[in-house]
């Protein structure tokens, strides 16, 4: 145990304050009774009640949830299978390197480049099929594309850390491939799969850029809604909505920690 220098404590406190001051301000003004300006006019929960009556916001919340759930489920399955395929078979060094490279693209490039590429690709595909009109389906495709990489990388690191001994033992005892998968690999891998899925889910909720580029008029999500609203001017209702979103994030994080620490 080492003691911190007072200066270190001061800077650390300043930094944490810097991170939280804006979020706290949003929470404070979400319960302020005045509609305009930043003068304190007493406590109210009206803005939260009004949220629940706003059809548009409820719709956006629903879209956000559908987008996150569908893309996470698809990306978790695709990413897990991909990770097993990459780690458990004797591919050459060259093949491994190029697979690895492709897998890392969405992780390292700025998301706006992926968004631009998707806009152009969907634009061209639209000539073939009307499925690729901007909208929820395109957003789901976009989210899956970057989520796969994250899931596959997390699951693969788990595959490496559990090693192959148990699988080999199962083989030696004449287990078939599906049996090994079902009774050995997948159960051992489960914490990695869940961690990957949670990461994918949070990434989807957190994403703005990919959604912004691929969304249609009918498929507004909460981040898109907030972005459009604050450009017109901030209102207490937006503060209330943002506070709720932050609270849900906090609950997810704490839940995730509880799960992964056990």
């Amino acid at each position: 145990m080492r003691k911190s220098h007072p200066l270190i404590i001061a800077v650390a406190m300043f930094t944490l304050g810097f991170l939280y001051l804006p979020l706290v301000a949003v929470a404070v003004f979400s319960v302020n009774a005045t509609r305009y300006g930043l003068v304190w006019r007493g406590f109210t929960l009206d803005w939260y009640l009004k949220l629940c009556q706003n059809e548009f916001i409820l719709n956006a919340a629903w879209n956000t949830l559908v987008l996150a759930v569908v893309s996470t489920v698809a990306a978790t399955i695709l990413g897990t299978v991909l990770a097993i395929g990459m780690d458990r078979f004797p591919w050459g060094r060259k093949a491994n390197t190029s697979l690895d490279l492709v897998l890392h693209i969405p992780v390292v490039i700025p998301d706006i480049i992926l968004a631009a590429a998707l806009v152009v690709a969907f634009g061209l595909l639209r000539v073939v099929s009307s499925l690729f009109e901007p909208g929820l389906l395109n957003m789901i495709i976009g989210h899956i594309t970057f989520q796969i990489s994250f899931v596959a990388l997390v699951v693969r690191s788990r595959l490496v850390s559990i090693g192959r001994d148990v699988e080999e033992v199962a083989r030696d005892l004449f287990a078939s491939t599906p049996y090994v998968l079902r009774r050995v690999t997948i159960p051992l891998l489960l914490p990695g799969i869940v961690a990957g899925a949670m990461l994918a889910f949070t990434l989807s909720l957190d994403d703005f850029v990919i959604s912004f580029f691929t969304a249609g008029p009918e498929s507004v999500t909460l981040p898109l809604f907030i972005f459009a609203a604050v450009r017109r001017g901030v209102t207490p209702q937006i503060h209330a909505l943002s506070t709720l979103v932050v609270l849900i994030t906090v609950i997810l994080i704490v839940g995730m920690e509880r799960f992964t620490r056990k």
């Binding site: 003004f29 697979l99 490039i109 596959a152 580029f213």
Partner: protein
């Protein structure tokens, strides 16, 4: 003659194994090919195409988009686009630097907490990391509002007009950027600081090393792995950032992310947008290359 081999307890042939392996790889790889690699190639292709009169794509090979990015136009040469690219690199650099400077004390502080509460402090850094960036950006509107001290001080010194908010401007962009990316540096750095071998630091102190030398020769090399990951995780996305400059910088402080968004949004000039994306891609490649040796693995939080 079929060559048999034993692969982790299974008697099989190379062909069988490859067949089954492809079955696993197939779906995921196909997805990444169709929706990642192909769109990427198409984007490169489009950057050499021509924009039609109504914003449609015309497949005529041209270098016009790249020339335009370099500043050549009908009316001679301007540095506008080069400036925006350069500014994006500069903003990313300053953001990374400030984040690193603030992250060291914060990581040391968290490491020095007792075991019971350390996790609480770490969670305080994780929460902003995962909070939606639109919310975290617009939240600064409130802090920089004309009624609050920051804007009042700025107005007092005549930096902004009376009763005007302290945005949009360059200062607000830096504030937003640092608060956005700070956790991206702190979290990997913390992982390194936690494993720090204090014996080396004490040895340096015992040998009368100055404070600066203790840091550069005992602490910095040991925390390099985490620091490298943090720098990459900050610098690259910061270059392409679009929400913060859009909300806090406005037209006054445009970055390359805004420029790209404009081409795909209001201007509807895909070929030019694609060319700028390629410019950003090249900048990304260069920065990754500079750091490749040290950041072999990227840790996820």
């Amino acid at each position: 003659m079929i060559k048999l081999l034993v692969w982790y307890g299974e008697l099989t042939t190379r062909k069988n194994l490859a067949k089954r392996g492809l079955l696993f790889l197939g779906a995921g790889m196909l997805w990444l090919m169709v929706f990642l690699v192909l769109p990427g190639l198409v984007l490169i292709g489009v950057s050499f195409a021509t924009r039609g009169a109504y914003g449609e794509l015309v497949w005529e090979f041209t270098l016009e988009n790249y020339k335009r990015m370099a500043g050549f136009s009908l009316f001679g040469w301007t540095a506008d686009y080069i400036m925006i690219l350069w500014r994006s690199v500069w903003v990313a650099f300053v953001t990374t630097l400030i984040s690193v400077v603030l992250s060291y004390p914060l990581s040391f502080f968290i490491c020095a907490r007792p075991e019971r509460t350390r996790y609480f402090w770490l969670t305080l850094v994780i929460i902003p990391f995962w909070t939606n960036m639109v919310i975290r950006t617009y939240a600064w509107f409130l802090i920089l509002a004309p009624e609050l001290p920051l804007a009042k001080i700025a107005a007092f010194f005549g930096l902004i007009p009376q009763s005007a908010p302290l945005y949009p401007n360059a200062f607000a962009v830096y504030l937003g950027m640092v608060s956005m990316f700070l956790p991206f540096v702190t979290l990997p750095l913390y992982a390194s600081v936690e494993r720090l071998d204090w014996a080396l630091v004490e040895a340096a102190q015992d040998l009368y090393a100055s404070k600066v030398r203790v840091f550069t020769q005992a602490i910095l090399p040991q925390t390099m792995p985490g620091l490298s990951v943090g720098i990459i995780l900050t610098f690259v996305p910061a270059m392409g950032m679009f929400v913060v400059p859009d909300l806090l910088g406005g037209a006054k402080y445009m970055l390359v992310g805004n420029l790209i968004q404009q081409q795909f949004g209001a201007s509807r000039d895909w070929p030019f947008g694609a060319a700028i994306s390629m410019g950003l891609m090249v900048l990304t490649m260069i920065s990754l290359q500079l750091y490749r040796r040290r950041s072999k693995e990227i840790e996820f939080v």
